[in-house]
């Protein structure tokens, strides 16, 4: 730590800090950051019943032009198989931690294991990727990946053109603040990368006309399992 700090001490650093201290001359010396009041009057938690929350999540994901279906835990494999058939998916990227039981017999699983990581080229040429997720946010229809079990590293859900994501009912939270609370450990303890996905990538850069699918997967499908 000490060594690192020494390496980065530059005159620019000292000067900027000095400029800031001069600029904030009006702040009393004894004032601590926590002394500056922050009113947190907004909602922190959604008290809606579970089922309503799940419905809300499904509705909001659908609004982003992503396909959503709800199945029972037991029907999961069948749903995945059916989806892959409909989309003509044959070579499916599978991150570590995706339960074996999810995998359709009809597809070739491209496994991204520690020993043999898939190359960007292989990811680019695959038909799609199947993942779980860290959680879903009902309020915004967002899927959150935190590089944990069944999600893999970030490139896996980025280069393939199709993303099939399984969200378990108990993974759905109501409001945005609940999601950040839930993710705090993964970030603070393990420094894991977190990605929020709300629908497929999109642009409105040309005449504000929305086009789905620019650089990420052009198609996002979500299966809610419970």
């Amino acid at each position: 730590m000490v060594e690192v700090e020494k390496r980065f001490v530059t005159s620019a650093r000292e000067e900027i800090l000095q400029r800031i201290r001069r600029a904030t001359y009006d702040v009393p010396k004894e004032e601590r950051p926590e002394d500056v009041p922050v009113e947190c009057g907004y909602r922190k938690k959604d008290d809606a019943p579970r089922e309503e929350m799940i419905e809300h999540f499904a509705e909001n994901v659908t609004e982003y032009e992503a396909t959503v279906r709800r199945v029972s835990e037991a029907g999961l494999k069948e749903a995945i198989t059916q989806t892959c058939q409909e989309r003509d998916i044959r070579r499916l990227v599978v991150p570590p931690g995706v339960p074996e039981g999810w995998l359709p017999d009809s597809v070739e699983a491209l496994r991204d294991d520690t020993g043999t990581l898939l190359t960007n080229q292989e990811l680019d040429e695959s038909d799609g990727v199947l993942t779980g997720c860290a959680l879903g946010i009902a309020q915004t229809g967002t899927i959150v990946l935190d590089a944990g079990e069944g999600q893999g590293r970030r490139a896996l859900t980025l280069l393939p053109d199709y993303h099939l994501c399984v969200v378990r009912e108990e993974q759905i939270v109501g409001l945005v603040p609940q999601a950040f609370a839930w993710l705090a450990d993964a970030v603070k303890r393990e420094g894991r990368a977190v990605t929020f996905i709300s629908g497929p990538s999109a642009t409105s850069d040309i005449e504000l006309d929305r086009v789905e699918g620019v650089h990420g997967p052009r198609t996002l499908e979500v299966i809610i399992a419970g």
Partner: protein, 485 residues
């Protein structure tokens, strides 16, 4: 062909807002495009905000958090530096654009990169990074679709969020055919987008260095964040082995949990969505996932000057959502280019003159590019009182001219007129005499009950408006006669 666009952040004289606005106002296509776009997004934003019963509470929290950061910016920066180090990243401090450009170019050179991929970042536009890298033999490829379009066209952005808002599909099609050699291209936005996807995919896969701006950086954890829609941000921040992020020192938020406020405020204000398609949060480097090297460049470049002005300070709260542009009646008519800055619209009108310093005619005109209607303050998700700062900056501009302008500044006709009027208003007898004098002296101007043309600087009024002449009896004369005094 590259159009040399005037820019407040370049050396040399930039035109005033009035001068540039006149040109923009005469451009029918531009006005139609911008008018249509701002109206559409304005309506959608209002709906997205309406959905949240606690919107005002979120705005207040956003304002409070930013206030807390600004008052203790030194501590937060040190905390951020430490957190990023702990997470395996490198931190660089730069005083100005020159230092920022230098360090970024050096990092690219160290990795022998001839080409770098970029996420849309206004901070890098502010320092003219692309031009600098080009001089150093490094090509910067813009990957946001709109930035890509205007880079191909050699133009500058006209909107914070949708930089190519001034171009229509036909223009973009012609550009792609010419510059990308695309054949058989229709002018459908989906076809145009796909052409860009194919071209850029190769660039992402080959790039050794990615460059990005920052939406937020968390002091507590060292986590940084890029909010986007297209996926080009994920590409640039995930695929290249080296990632450089340039951030203004004001982009800090105290803790991870504070995202709960800003990630609600930003998407709804910006693109009128509940949540934008992609947001990437990362903390230093992660083993086996994403870049192997992460550099965070902390840039001042005029920001501490803004911090030192206790009214101007709130400008630093800005999270670059562009809601103020979309509601601004001035922006809606003139578009972004009239502001001659990478920061257009109401926020640009207060940010640009503060960043470059008061005392330059071009940027000194920006605080006047507003009717002070206050629509920007109403929508600002972090409650920047833009009209208040505009008025404050107008005061600074005038005082600078009066105090530093010598005899010329003092004899300036506006200055003389304003001072004379102020003296007149300070004395009731002078004021009443002036009312009478004005009534008498207007007779050469008043014809058939209206004044059709005013002389000198006031002629702008009568270009499209008549003026009502001063009536026979002032109110106070009526009052006095009624009360017999």
């Amino acid at each position: 062909m590259t159009i040399e666009a005037p820019d407040a952040f370049s050396k040399g004289r930039t035109p005033t807002f009035e001068e540039s606005a006149r040109e923009s106002l005469a451009n029918a296509q531009l006005r139609r495009n911008i008018g249509k776009a701002t109206q559409a997004i304005r309506t959608r934003r209002a709906q997205a905000v309406e959905e949240l019963p606690d919107w005002e509470e979120l705005r207040q929290a956003g304002y409070d958090l930013k206030t807390r950061v600004m008052r203790h910016l030194d501590e937060y920066l040190l905390q951020l530096e430490e957190s990023v180090h702990k997470a395996g990243g490198h931190v660089h401090w730069v005083r100005d654009a020159t230092e920022a450009n230098r360090i970024i170019a050096d990092i690219a050179k160290n990795h022998e990169a001839k080409e770098v991929v970029k996420v849309k970042s206004i901070a890098t536009d502010e320092i003219k990074l692309n031009e600098f890298l080009e001089e150093e033999g490094i090509k910067a490829v813009e990957t946001d679709l709109a930035e890509f379009i205007i880079q191909l066209a050699g133009e500058i952005s006209s909107h914070i969020l949708v930089p190519a808002i001034h171009k229509n599909r036909a223009e973009i099609r012609e550009l792609f055919i010419k510059k990308l050699g695309a054949e058989d291209l229709s002018d459908e936005p989906s076809d145009l987008t796909n052409a860009a996807r194919l071209y850029l995919r190769e660039k992402f896969l080959q790039a050794k260095v990615g460059i990005s701006g920052a939406n937020f950086a968390v002091a507590e954890t060292g986590t940084v964040c890029v909010v986007e829609s297209e996926g080009n941000g994920r590409m640039c921040t995930t695929l290249p082995p080296v990632l450089v992020m340039l951030m203004g020192i004001e982009k800090i938020i105290p803790t991870w949990q504070d995202f709960e406020v800003f990630m609600q405020l930003l998407p709804r204000s910006s693109t009128a969505e509940r949540m934008n398609p992609y947001t990437s949060f990362w903390t230093g480097v992660s083993e086996g996932d994403g870049p192997k090297e992460f550099h965070l460049v902390l840039m001042d470049n005029g920001r501490t000057e803004i911090l030192a002005d206790d009214i101007g300070r709130q400008t630093l709260n800005c999270i670059r959502c562009s809601a103020c542009l979309n509601v601004c009646p001035v922006y809606e008519r003139t578009g972004g280019h009239a502001y001659n800055s990478v920061y257009p619209g109401p926020i640009g009108a207060i940010l640009t003159p503060q960043l470059v310093g008061i005392g330059r005619p071009g940027t000194d005109s920006l605080p006047y590019a507003s009717s002070l209607c206050g629509a920007c303050y109403d929508v600002c998700p972090v409650k920047i009182n833009i009209p208040e700062v505009l008025i404050h900056l107008r005061g600074r501009v005038v005082r600078h001219r009066q105090d530093g302008g010598g005899l010329k500044g003092k004899l300036d006709p506006e200055n003389v007129a304003m001072r004379t009027m102020a003296r007149t208003f300070s004395d009731r007898r002078l004021y009443e005499a002036a009312q009478k004098a004005a009534r008498i002296s207007q007779w050469p101007l008043a014809r058939s009950g209206a004044i059709h043309r005013l002389p000198g600087k006031l002629a702008g009024w009568t270009e499209a408006r008549d003026l009502k002449p001063i009536p026979e009896q002032t109110f106070r004369e009526w009052w006095k006669s009624r009360n017999g005094s």
